[in-house]
Amino acid sequence: MPTDTKPKVATARRVTAELQHQIEQHYYTEARMLQDELFREWLEQLVAPDIHYWLPVYEQRFRRDKRPAPTPDDAAIYNDDYAMLKMRVERLYTGQVWMEDPPSRIRYSISNVEAYHTEIPGELQVYSNFTIQRHRRQTEHYTHTGGRQDLLRQDGTTFKLARRKIDLDARVVQDKNLYFFA
């Protein structure tokens, strides 16, 4: 299922308040794991083996421009499967990532969580917004805002991330890299 499908809000079935609560709590746990550098646990426990993790490059075009929005066949900053995410994670455990030593700080605020059932039982289409603050070294500070479109799979009482499309608001990235998991 492509991650950029707009929800048919009128017809799509919203999740119950209880499920909504579970999803929000899941996102907070995910954020805390990433803040605490529990990258392996994040990948093993929260990410599905068939993940597509995608952050496309958006060009600023005129409204009249009829070219389609980017697809996974186009330029991207992340266009990762599980094996690629795993390499990104494992790199952080080599002890040789000099720019993370001393470690930097990252903090996530997740909001605007909006969840719908898809046609497939146990699969949920979830929208959310993020603000990510990175602090490095003495005074470096970067803020990233954007939205996420996730496909979550219910897995008992928890969820696995099967698709994530990240829409970063900044066209020109105001940071030396985007090597973090949004």
């Binding site: 900053i77 266009n79 690629m84 090597y179």
Partner: protein, 452 residues
């Protein structure tokens, strides 16, 4: 006042720390380098049809590059000749005209001023012929479009000189050459533009240390370099090149595809291309075709052939750049392979790249540690491999013995000093026959019987 002779020594092996900090020097660089050299704009394949345009940049100037009805390409300054407003805010598209948002002056796809609203009724008193968007010289090398502000500058082919012969290794290759996939990713980095330019022109030295983490996880031939632990026959594993006008690169033999994680199809493709490259261009360049290249085309266009990333470092003052990155692919690659290459290049050298992420902080602090005026009195050095280099029997320019060395740093800074000092391109032309005399060991390759 700036003493240019104090900034860089004669052979380019020592530089004052001022080069990464000084505001006056930056202004001089804008005038004497960025206003006189050929700067990368875009690739022809990204504007295939009449009216297709991209917004490009030449240092701090905003530029529109547009394909014309007769299939030629024009470039002009993206700033209205009325009150200076930026005329086009889209990064790319197809246009029949560019209309200014402020008062509605309309320019054709060739940059000519075609309409002034209320011109007659309100007595505009403007001679339209004189008020087109200022044109910029634009020329193509194998489809790569470069712009130049200086009418006296050599044409692009002469500016590249022997570097063009080397680039033909893959810009012609098996016949059809290469092109770029866009749109470029863009990011801001707080560093002087020369830090990444010198890094790409000749810094294989940092690969094993800066990128140890990524190499260890990703494996491949270069993993052996990780942590600088290996005892390797560095002199037989590659070379460095510097040519006229400061262009240069380092090549690691037989490592073209080595940083790609999903590379089986790429390896097959390269193996198929190689005999045709040898037939077209000869064995000397066929050897280079299979290597991994880190290059800078002077001043600020850097690329990694093999890893497929193609970049411009746009200066934004002395302490900041904007990085624009495209993906470099062979035209003969099919859709599937192009996609793999594009994903692989982003994975390593995109904005979130596993290797790119290692470089940013080095580049930033190499710049900002010079803000202290006492620190700034110091000197920086690029002496590695000095005199282990010279004219080569098979290749043009000056060739250094090992891919780990600073030959092409010296070539870059030697020309940097030359063009900063030169009053005009004619003064640069006067040195065309003697530019490489600072590389003094003329018989290095002759006296090296095992050299190939």
């Amino acid at each position: 006042m700036l003493d240019l002779d104090e900034l860089v020594n004669n052979d380019g092996s020592e530089q004052s720390r001022e080069i990464f900090w000084n505001q006056d020097l930056y202004q001089l660089e804008i005038e004497r380098i960025f206003s006189r050299c050929w700067l990368f704009l875009t690739h022809e394949s990204l504007i295939p049809k009449y009216g297709d345009f991209v917004s490009a940049r030449m240092a701090e100037e905003e530029i529109i590059v547009c394909r014309q009805k007769d299939d030629t390409i024009r470039a002009f300054i993206n700033s209205c000749t009325h009150r200076g407003n930026q005329v086009c805010h889209a990064e790319s598209g197809n246009a029949r005209a560019f209309i200014c948002n402020y008062h509605g002056w309309a320019y054709g796809t060739d940059g000519a001023l075609v309409d002034i609203p209320l011109e007659q009724r309100c007595n505009a008193q403007v001679n339209k012929e004189d008020c087109g968007l200022p044109q910029v010289r634009v020329e193509s090398y194998r489809g790569f479009l470069y712009g130049c502000f200086d009418a006296e500058a050599p044409n692009l082919e002469e500016y590249l000189g022997e570097f063009g012969w080397l680039l033909d290794t893959w810009m012609i290759g098996a016949g059809n050459g290469v092109e770029l996939l866009g749109p470029p990713s863009k990011s801001v980095l707080d560093c002087n533009w020369k830090v990444p330019a010198e890094n790409f022109v000749g810094d294989a030295y940092h690969v094993g240390w800066t990128h140890a983490a990524a190499l260890e996880v990703m494996g491949g031939e270069l993993a052996g370099l990780a942590g600088n632990r290996a005892d390797m026959p560095f002199d037989d594993m590659g070379k460095q090149f510097t040519t006229r006008h400061g262009h240069g690169f380092g090549v690691i033999n037989n490592a073209a595809t080595s940083i790609h994680i999903d590379r089986a199809d790429y390896d097959t493709f390269m193996a198929e291309q190689l005999p045709k490259v040898a037939e077209n261009l000869g064995e000397a360049r066929a050897d280079l075709f299979n290597g991994h290249w880190n290059c800078t085309l002077f001043p600020n266009n850097s690329f990694l052939y093999g890893t497929n990333t193609f970049k411009v470092w746009h200066p934004r003052g002395p302490h900041q750049i904007e990085v624009w990155s495209w993906t470099l692919v062979h035209k003969d690659m099919d859709r599937e392979l192009r996609k793999k290459i594009q994903i692989g290049a982003a994975f390593t050298f995109g904005t979130a790249g596993t290797l790119e992420a290692d470089d940013g902080e080095n580049m930033m602090t190499c710049t900002h540690s010079n803000r202290g005026s006492v620190t700034r009195r110091g000197t920086l050095r690029s002496t590695m491999g000095l005199n282990h280099e010279g004219p080569h029997p098979d290749y043009p320019g000056i060739v250094g013995a090992s891919f780990i060395g600073e030959t092409s740093y010296r070539g870059f800074y030697r020309f940097y000093k030359e063009i900063l000092k030169a009053q005009s391109w004619d003064a640069v032309r006067d040195n065309d026959d003697s530019w490489d005399s600072t590389f003094e060991n003329r018989d290095f390759w002759k006296n090296r019987p095992t050299a190939s």
